[in-house]
Amino acid sequence: MSVSVLKPGLLTSLQDGGRPGYAALGVGRAGAIDVPAWRLANALAGNRGDEAALELTLIGPTLRFERAAVIALTGAPVDARVDGMRLPGWTRCVLPAGSVLQLGAMAQGCRAYLAIRGGFMAEPVLGSRSTDLHARIGPHQGRPLSAGDRLAVGESGPVLTRVHTPSPLAWSLDPQPWFDFHASPIALLRGHHFAALNEDSQQRLFQDRFVVSTDSNRTASRLDGPRLALRAPLELISEATLPGTLQLPPSGQPIALQVEAPVTGGYPRIGQIAAVDLARLAQRRPGHAVCFVETTLEEAVARLARRQRRLQRLLHAIAQRLEHA
């Protein structure tokens, strides 16, 4: 079974949970930027967990399915059609053999996930099928999909072959807790060099509005808006960075590192975005506003733990419900 890429979309790549454990060798984790959305897409498609799915950016690809397939779309709401028929997101759809799925623009947000039962196959690199576009490693030598690519699909078990039209389930998940429709504030911890910001900049970081810049990508969300300044220039030596680290380069425009960020950096670290809000920041498209609200580590940990429990419960419930579907 394979899927042909007729049009690649704006930036579509294979992603899974990433490749943890290689940061000391200069290799970042990469992986899906909106992990809950990716995991829920897999669960809805009937997968067990860590299968690779497609991460779509702003405009989705057009794909042809050689055989009948079971798919699910999550993340940002994306226009999806087969022969003019609109497919719903956050549910499971069975597509007949030969279907051409046209994924268009996202009504909101920036990243959507297309999972397929059996998962998209590629030779794992350092244990992962994630595409690291920045480091250029992973499937397709680390590049995004292009027209003419064929994506192999893993063993999917029996799929209804008598289906002649796309058939979504009668129910779908409520995307509300998993997709931020209201652009709420992003929780931010003070970083090691927060105190080195001048007083005005310390206030502006939590009071002013920033705007996601057009040169944002899977490496970083760059923020336009008030220019922040240090009390005095800092000459720093490079140290390890993490996704979510908010750096301040000399331009004064903060950079929030994302999943493909280099594993070390030498800019002052003025903050760390709460892990639970990092995907929500990644879903803000260029031109959209970002406000920060201060949080504590204890609160950030508690929110993350709550979300993990909620996600686990939902994944379990989906698996049970699909068994009886």
Binding site: P20, A24, I237, S238, E239, A275, L304
Partner: protein, 240 residues
Amino acid sequence: MISPSPMPPWEPLAEDALLLRFGEVIDAALNARVHAAAALLRHQLHGVECVPAYASLLLRFEPAQWEPTAHASSWQRVAEAVRAVLQMPVPVQENPREVELPVLYGGDCGPDLATVASYAGLSEAEVVARHCAGRYRVAMLGFAPGFPYLLGLDPALASPRRAKPRLSVPAGSVAIGGQQTGVYPQALPGGWQVIGRTPLSLFDMRAESPARLCPGDGVRFRAIDQAEFARLSAMPEADR
């Protein structure tokens, strides 16, 4: 054996990470302490990822393994475990790994050799001789997979970065940026002065140990000629 290390100052960095700060400067002895601590912690603290840099060490843990107690947060628990491990005597590495990199200096492979020579006030041959005479140590890998930041550059060879970075520096390029020297493991944009190229591959993502150079390794450069460069380039990767 050397005496136990004191616990360095540390700070929580994120929900699943803390940073140990051994110092604030680029210094070989300080960097050696970072690597000794990293080696010990990797051996003794399972499930904690260690990311060494010049003078600091990032530890990433699984929060589920280090649940907070009534008296201690997850970070405090990890830090306590780190303190206990660092009190163990650190075995001195008798023979730290030494890696030799053959390099074709100058010409098309080292377009900035003349620039470095003019900054240093030396002939190109003297720059090559001094670069090869150095005993280097991998301070950390960063910037890109397998990119080594090397300590030990002859101060006379220090050269400012190019005013305009190149969009693509070829894989294997040996370059100088300020007081540092390093090797581009793959074609990458870069602003360092490129003085030569090694035919060896530095990062093979198919290999079990993908990086040829690891943090803490010793490195030497050996000047080779065009013929040897061609001969090594033609050999299968595993035999080079």
